[in-house]
């Protein structure tokens, strides 16, 4: 998907792209600089929302232009020069990929913000304002990443969304667990970002630029793409760096929908799509991606089976679906990965927001406190079920088409192991989503669920808006593929789509039997529950953190205080002690001095007499 680059002169600067970039930036700046406005709450939300709507309108314009004219346009200005040569560029790159991604980000962000108007309504005005200020900052950072003309700007956006994520996960700052989760997310993604940083170094040293489409040797491509993939593993929550994502659910639910499902975590996948020229020359990296992606997909789906917190189910599901995208990219299907990113963004945002609507009504994240909500919250239930069906790959819905592309791309690779894993995941996905649907919306009401009421308009409208692409996006796959320089042919009849569709339906059916009717108990789940309860992967990190890193730090701290500083103090002390000892020689007694002179004379004479 690498397209010819032609830097445009200033006059041709694409105005809508800058609107998409700077409208949220201005909103964030205004809210940062005017605490009085921010602390009043509601006005802050209008500032951010206006900016998001502007950005969305701009994104629509850009996509329409792209559909009509196509091509790739780059506009850059250098902000960091070394010896007169631009090193760091700021600018926008407009092509099918960035235009599509921009629209996805802006639409989801706007929906999430509208949803938040209602969802966060009970927050105190200063907290409400702060929340929307963070959202404006996030949208700017994300658009900076999406429109980046080179890897350095992409990195800047990448780091900024990480920082915003940190602030938003820790939004409820008085909850100790929220602070911990924010810290964990930041540390782990920052660790992975070292890969990005080193990739930039290698790229700069070998090509003198940060362009992903610069000509590189195969060895460099492998190194750079391998390092970049390490960063992706962190950002897109792939095994074994996925552990921060479930904890990140400590943030408000709309935040989970926007950052930790639809957009920010998908930035890793987006990076691979962008830097595809590098990845295309690195078969070794892509093989690793295929294995890590399909492994994560299956692993996370298993974990999702036994979660009791509705948000945790969705979080593991996100890991799993990101695994699909990574596997597709590893198998070489760039559009497959990218298309699944787009559909997933919509239906997963929809699922999270619908879950948020439920949580808002029953005041609990636990599936055990829900049940029978279908009657009390019909709109929420319907939209959630549509989202779940799209995710499960029910034919005709968006998820079906993109999942089909992913599955087709891995066909036959590595003795069908990734294919088998992803097929199994497709079944498990339908099963765990069915489980949530039947536990939350069917059966008897438990806990507060009996008194739940359907949410208000600002919560429902975004759900309805997001339902549209969750259902229909699959039918516009061909023009989208064309935009990103690929071709797409609809093939509904074939082994893969039929198998995937029947696995999806079968998963739902099994979930209905187990959780809807309660006629069957899946005994395999009990040992899995026990296994998950051991939190084995987290344990490894905890041991590494407590037993290794903290101990090293403690030991170094001790060495510094007692050995190194002790040595310095000892040197100082010995100088003082030496002086004190030497002072004794100066007795002030004339006889002693005469005695010393005589001794000295004898010594000299003896030395002179020696042969």
């Amino acid at each position: 998907m690498s397209l010819p680059v032609g830097a445009l002169p200033l006059e041709a600067a694409p105005i809508p792209a800058f609107v998409a970039l700077f409208a949220p930036a201005v909103a964030a700046l205004v809210l940062a600089a005017a605490p009085a406005l921010r602390r009043r709450g509601a006005p802050a939300s209008w500032v951010t929302l206006t900016a998001s709507l502007l950005a969305t309108a701009a994104a629509v314009t850009l996509l329409v232009t792209q559909l009509r004219e196509g091509g790739s346009h780059v506009w850059m200005a250098s902000w960091l020069q070394i010896n007169g040569a631009g090193v760091g560029d700021f600018g926008v790159r407009l092509d099918g990929v960035s235009a599509t991604m921009l629209l996805v980000v802006c639409v989801v962000a706007t929906c999430v913000q509208v949803f938040s108007l209602g969802y966060m309504h009970d927050e105190k005005p200063p907290a409400f304002g702060r929340y929307f200020a963070y959202h404006a900052l996030f949208l700017f950072s994300m658009n900076l990443l999406v429109l980046a003309p080179d890897l350095l700007q992409l990195f800047a956006g990448w780091e900024l969304v990480g920082a915003t994520s940190y602030l938003l996960i820790g939004f409820y700052y008085q909850k100790p667990s929220a602070g911990q989760a924010a810290l964990k997310a930041f540390w782990i993604t920052k660790l992975a970002d070292m890969g990005f940083l080193m990739a930039l170094m290698v790229l700069y040293k070998t090509t003198g630029t940060f362009r992903w489409d610069a000509a590189v040797t195969a060895a460099t491509a492998t190194t750079v793409s391998g390092l970049l993939f390490f960063a992706v593993v962190g950002k897109s929550a792939q095994f074994p760096l996925h552990i921060w994502l479930p904890d990140a659910m400590e943030g408000p639910t709309p935040v989970s929908a926007l950052l930790h499902a639809a957009t920010m975590v998908a930035a890793g996948v987006f990076l691979i799509v962008r830097a595809n020229p590098l990845f295309a020359h690195a078969p070794a990296t892509r093989d690793v991606m295929l294995l890590v992606g399909s492994g994560t997909a299956l692993f996370a789906a298993c974990l999702a089976l036994v979660q009791t917190d509705i948000k945790k189910v969705l979080a593991y599901s996100t890991c799993s679906q990101l695994g699909y995208m990574v596997a597709a990219l590893g198998a070489g299907s760039v559009f497959g990965g990218f298309f699944h990113l787009a559909t997933h963004a919509f239906f997963k945002a929809l699922l999270f927001l619908a879950a948020g609507s439920v949580i808002h009504a029953v005041h609990s994240n636990e599936l055990a406190d829900m049940g029978g909500l279908r009657r009390r919250m019909p709109v929420t239930a319907t939209t959630f079920i549509i989202g779940a069906m799209s995710l499960a790959g029910i034919p005709g819905l968006a998820g079906f088409f993109s999942k089909d592309l992913v599955l087709a791309s891995v066909e036959g690779r590595y003795g069908w192991v990734p294919f088998g894993a992803l097929m199994a995941t497709a079944f498990l996905t339908a099963f765990y989503m069915g489980r949530v649907v039947f536990l939350a919306f069917f059966g008897e009401a438990r806990g507060h669920a009996g008194h739940a009421h359907e949410s208000g308009g600002s919560l429902l409208v975004p759900l309805l808006v997001l339902t549209v692409p969750s259902v229909a996006l699959g039918w516009v796959a061909a023009p989208l593929a064309h935009l990103s320089g690929a071709t797409y042919e609809l093939h509904l009849v074939g082994v893969v789509p039929i198998l995937a569709a029947s696995l999806g339906l079968g998963g739902f059916a099994l979930a209905w039997v187990v959780y809807g009717r309660g006629t069957l108990v899946v005994s395999a789940l009990a040992p899995l529950e026990r296994l998950v309860a051991t939190r084995a992967v987290n344990r490894v990190y905890e041991v590494g953190y407590r037993r290794v890193l903290l101990v090293v730090a403690d030991v170094l701290g001790w060495i510094d205080r007692y050995l190194i500083d002790g040595l310095m103090n000892f040197l100082g002390w010995s100088a003082v002690a030496g002086g004190r000892a030497l002072r004794r020689v100066q007795t002030g007694n004339a006889q002693d001095y005469v005695f010393a002179v005589v001794l000295g004379a004898i010594a000299l004479a003896a030395w002179g007499l020696l042969p």
Partner: protein, 541 residues
Amino acid sequence: MSRHLLSVLLFLPLLAALVVMFTPRQYLRTLRGFSVGVMLVEFLLSLRLLFDRHVDAVDWSSASYKFVEAHSWVESLGIQYKVGVDGISLWLVLLTTAMTPIALFSSWQSVDTKIKEFAIAFLLLECGMIGAFVSLDLFLFYVFWELMLVPMYLIIGIWGGKDRVYAAVKFFIFTMVGSVLMLVALLYLVSQYQHLSGHYSFDLGELGRVQLPAKAQYFCFAAFALAFAVKVPMFPFHTWLPDAHVQAPTGGSVILAAVLLKMGTYGFLRFAMPLFPVASHFLGPTLAVLAVIGIVYGSYCAWVQKDVKKLVAYSSVAHLGFVMLGLFSLTTQGISGAILQMVSHGVSTGALFLLVGIIYERRHTRELDAFGGLAKVMPFYAVIFIIVTMSSVGLPGTNGFVGEFMILSGAFSSEVLPFARVFTAFAATGVVLAAVYMLHAVLKMFWGPLDKAENRGLPDLTRREVYALAPLVVLIFWIGLYPSMFLSRMEPTVNAFIEGYVQKRNATVDLEEARLGAAPAGAGAEAAQADIRVVAPGGAQ
């Protein structure tokens, strides 16, 4: 005035110190206002270094010294009063003039004893710091180098915390041991110069023309390097720093971190490296190893500190490790990045010390465990603290990112460092570790329930505190978003520095080889004469 601008900058604080000395001590407001006012005037005057249009020499696209002023001082020894700035010292002078009024202004909230003496100490300190940065005569440099030691010693020892005397003496002795050795090496260098040219000189340019044989360079470089390494401070000479910072009053800590530490890195760049390039070439990798150790080691030590001021002090060890790595990478972006990082570190760490001072004044403790949930009672304070933290962690868009990034990419592509990639990879872990220790502190201070009664009534930032912090926050973003303004004015000097350094190193190496090659041929006498010589002007900086 333009021609004497540097002298004005040097002597204005000195003159003001004299005025303060004759002001009755009960005029508290006058004393406070006057001293800060003079420093603000000083800052505005120093901006003319950037924008002065009356002097032809102010063209920052050339590498030469500007605003040069030279007068003979001690004629028989060739000692001059010679000052000037180039693209390197320019930014450090501006950093000094910007940070000093902020530090003093913020001190007036907490310092309430011996106001008059405090103001005098600060004014003398400013004179000493600027003098050290603008001196082009090594004797003059040495005078200022020692001059600034005294007020800092007094600031820690008189207005410091509980163990202030211990910390002050430690600070003084550490610095003194290094600088005395430097003086010996300096006198040796001057005597060699006199031996060759028949007259004495302490002029930096003149002494730069002396090519010492490699062995002599090692000793001289080691002596200079020790003096500067203590000041930086490099591992393992850093232990005075946490003590000094913890005991120093807030204003003292700010200046210590923001400016005094830069004396060390500046000394390497201005004196140790160009005067003894062969030695610095061979010892550079060793120093780079120490720098990387400092980054990782300092970060780990910072992490386990319970006292937040100590944590910030150890973070300085790590950040200055980056600067040293950049210097010894000997690439344009490495050295420019190092200079930018010196300024950035001054701004960010200065701000951190101000912030720590603010909470200390309210709570009289700096133990991390004593805080928690402060975001609720001090939201504005929390916002500023997190912004500065992000800058310290190197978030793109803030000043910390540009310097660190340039240093790392300079080190990565360095041709003089062996295993440059390994060095860079280890140094890059410092970026992650910075996030570990800084955000750990942020978590402990601001997140969680507000469960300690003492913290419930804490007031948020006062207007005074905002005045002190606001310029620093602006600088954090300014440098982060528009670094070209700084880089374009330092690059010519940096390139000239690298060129001169390499040229002189090669010349000395050629000379050594000629000597070794000539010795067996029986031309011993000639070779001995070739040991040291003054190269043609222009051969060195």
